[in-house]
Structures are given as structure tokens and as C-alpha cells.
Symmetry: C2
Subunit: 310 residues, 2 copies
Amino acid sequence: MGNDLTYAVLGTGALGGYYGGMLAKGGRRVCFQVRTGFEEVKKQGLVVESRGGDFALPDAEIYAKTDDMPKADVVLVCLKTTANDILPAMLKPILKEDTLVILVQNGLLFEEELSAEMPGLSVAGASAFICSFKVAPGHIKHCDFGHISFALLKKSETSCKLLEKVKDDFIACGVEASVEDDLPTLRWRKLVWNIPYNGMTVVMDTSTDKLMRNPETRKLIKDLMLETLQGALSCGVKIESEFVEKMLAYTDSMVPYAPSMKLDYDAKRPMEIKGIYSNPLEAASQNGADLKKIRMLEQQLYFKQSEYLK
Amino acid sequence: MGNDLTYAVLGTGALGGYYGGMLAKGGRRVCFQVRTGFEEVKKQGLVVESRGGDFALPDAEIYAKTDDMPKADVVLVCLKTTANDILPAMLKPILKEDTLVILVQNGLLFEEELSAEMPGLSVAGASAFICSFKVAPGHIKHCDFGHISFALLKKSETSCKLLEKVKDDFIACGVEASVEDDLPTLRWRKLVWNIPYNGMTVVMDTSTDKLMRNPETRKLIKDLMLETLQGALSCGVKIESEFVEKMLAYTDSMVPYAPSMKLDYDAKRPMEIKGIYSNPLEAASQNGADLKKIRMLEQQLYFKQSEYLK
């Protein structure tokens, strides 16, 4: 790799559009893969409405498919995990020897799954604490927060150095970023938020603020967080119980919010049930933890999804 | 009491209209209390569309309030339990010395609550295994089943004899009926059906058949039944595990059905959450049983109700 990294962003939605957009605005070379509305985005470029200041990237490098893209030093995978079965085929054309593939996705065990399918690939995960959504193809609205945390699946000297450089690029481009030591810890900590709010906004057909205002669902949200801690612990990840209070307070401070799963549900798209529910439940179960309320939420979500997805 | 009993039916809906109607058709004296649409029902009488044969009772004795009614030997309380706070005041004008008050209602501990408010009152409970609903004031549609089981809260020679006579009257009038030995057993057995289906049809906004067809919710329904058995056991009520399979098969055999709580939810009426969820959860909790999935369903139901009931 040279001193200046070439980034590939797969999926230019709420996450890819924002983070890739920030890197491009900061002068990094970013190649965006756009599926829906490619022609339009290619013509008009990207627009990011951000609470940190709106900006446009009329000359953003837009591609329809990875076959047409240059090889990348770093790939930010910002696709829904429901599309992860096509990920190996998508990645192949843009990989160099030491390309680092970072899954900026929600849910547990996708890094392990990718690594099993593509042995030798350098894989990391990233958790984004952000409220953002895609208004239209190439048009992202960033509402709140933005911190991104990275962690490697397996550490090597090369991959550690590269990930540090990625983090420095993010920070230099105005995004709060950090590198964490342990990927399972990163993933489980994010699940403490994702497990209660994604599923409950779908099943109750509501937004985060209403769940927090009702004393019964507020209690249930907390119970679901505590079960997540129990699942994490069974997998060897210790999360301090104060973190639950912190996540509740964090959500209280948020604007009324529909998490990504609720947006998927409303748009009748597949929901990320596997990564956020089934994989963590399976991992916990293999370690002897029976997470009853999370399992119930998973069952309710599969029912809801079956009503529109045949 | 004489040889011929006078029945009072409080609440002439799906249950009161059907069972009271069958008794009246069979020649028993039945005084119906009708709240909604009194004038109309008074004029037109009752109509019952039943799979056992439709019938009309144009001369049914219809009353707007218990003040106007004769005293009764037997009171069939067929009101929603959400109205139970006004029950003692409603009952007073129609009570004789040995009047038997039978709560034909869903849920746990209402007989105990009534008895605590009206010490010395002879109280029984009844579980109706029936699919029926009120089409309009004075117009009942009976779709399936119909068995009714009675049990006394406290047994005395007088009340036992009277309840036997009530059961005989029901049978003579074409209703399958039985007297059971133990009220808590009667109540908990009915909860094995009521707990999963009432709440889940509301929270999933669906009908029983769809919950049974989806493998995830079918499993959850069974889990909720098994938790109900666990709650019952903690309260000293042993229900054989085969009963769960029987209830699942019974529901499979039913026409697609919206339980009463789903009808209440759709009509934005208060739901019977207390009797079907909160009271059983409280009883189980006092006996050391933590029914996690039932508790979660209760919390979800309170949220759903708070969205339309202020």
C-alpha cells in the first residue's frame, strides 16, 4: 500500500454514503458502489445533509459493480447483511494482497463467516453509532452521532498498521473513530442497543422515544439489554452493567428514531434478523445461555417478516 | 330457592347472549341486562345465529340496569372483567340470601377479589370453551364449540346443590356443561389457551390460524403454554403436559379466529390484561416462578393499549 489509501465503499446508503462521503470530502480517494439508482447518482454525485454541515460531492467516483472498480486498499462493506451471500463474489475483483475488508454492518459472526469462505482474507468489523438514513439514491441525511469503532478479526502486523491508518483517515476527515482490541466485545456491545430497539420498534410498530416513554416497554427494553449482557458473558465478553444505563440514557437523548430494521420493515425489505438475533442466540445457546425474551422477539420478527416476504 | 331457578345475565354479549339465550330457549326464566343498545334490544329481543340452529327470542326479558330486575337465584356475570369494579354495586339489587354469582369471565383471581369485597357471597367461576361474538346489540353469532365448566370458590352444601342444578339446566337446554372440583385448576387450564392466543393475536395483529401456520410463532405459542403450566404448578395446580398438545390440536381444528382480546383491541376497548396476564404473573411471582415470555407479552400489550387508551 502507498501512503494514500484507496477506499472502496460497497453499498452507498445510510452508512456508506455518510462515512465514504466524509472520507471523500476530506480528500481521500473513495470509489462508491451504488446498486439502486446508479445512473442518477453517477450523473448527480452524492449529497450529504449532516448536522455537522451539509455537503455535495458532484464528482464522486460512482460504480455500478465491483468489476468496474480499481483494486482497493480498504473495503468498507456497508451493505445490509441480508446480502452477505454475494459478498465473496463482489469482493474478488477489488482485492489486492493485503486489502483490509471492514464490515460496517450490524450483527454477530459475519466476519467469521466471511473469513471461513475466503481464507487468508484480512477482515475487520466496525460498529457505527450513528443516526442516518438514505433519503433517495445518492442523498444521505445524517441526524445524530457518528462515532465508528473498528476491530480486527485476526491481528497481524500489517493489518494492525493498516487499521490504525484507516482510523487516522477517519479522524482527519472529521469522523470520531477508534480501534478496539476485541471484535466480539465490539459486536456484543453494539448488540446491547440493536437487540432491544430494532426488534421492538418493528413488533410494536413504533419509534424509540415511544418505547422509552411507556414504563412497561422501557422496563422490557432494559430486560432485553440485560439478557444481551448475559449472552455476551456466556461467550466470554464481559460488559459492565452500567453500560445498560448508559445506552438507555443515550437513547433518551436521541431524536425520535426508527432503527434500520424498522425502515426495512416499513419498506417490506428483508430484515437483519440473522445477525442481530439468530447468530447471537445460537452463540449463547452453545455456551449454555437461554435468552428467553430475545428468542421471543426473534420469533415475533420472523412472523412479521413472513407476512410480507414469501 | 324454588325448583325453577331465576337467572340474571349481566352483559348480553358473546357469552351472555349465547348461554342466556340457550337457557331462555329451553324454557328457563332469564333476565338479561343489556347496556349498549338497550332500547333496540328491548323492542326486538335476542337473535342467536348458532351452528346448532339459529333461534330468536322476541320476548326475552330485557333490562337496562339491575335496579329494575327481579332478584335472581343465579347470576351469570358475562361482563368484561375490565368492568369488574362496578360489579358489587350492580349485584346488590338482585341478590337473595343464597344467590350464586357465577363469573363467566376470563382470567385469574376475580372470584377471590369479588368475595373479598362482598364477604359471605356465594361465588363460582365458569370457563367457556366457545367461539362466539356479538354481531350487533341483541344479535349473537355462535361459530364453534360451547362447553362450559363451573367451579365454586368455596363449597357449601347449598352452593354445591345449586351449582349442580345450574349445570343440569344448561345440559337440559342443549349446552355441554360440567362442574369441576377446583376453581384454580379451572382458571389455569383456561389460561393455557388464553395467555398465548389473546396476546399474540394482538401483538402480531393477526388471527390464530396464521400464528399456527408459521413455525416460529407456533413454537412461541407452545413455549407460552409451557410457561403457563409452570405458573400453574407454582400455585399448586398440576396440568398434564399432554394438555399443551391438546390445546394446539384444538386450535388447529378451529376456524380462523380472533380471540376476545383481539376484538377489544381492534375496537379500541380496554383489554383484559389484568386477569389474563398481570394476576397470573403476580400469583406465579409470589410463588417464585418467573414467567419471562408471558411477562414480555404483558409488557407489549400494555404498550399497545396505551397507544389508543389514554
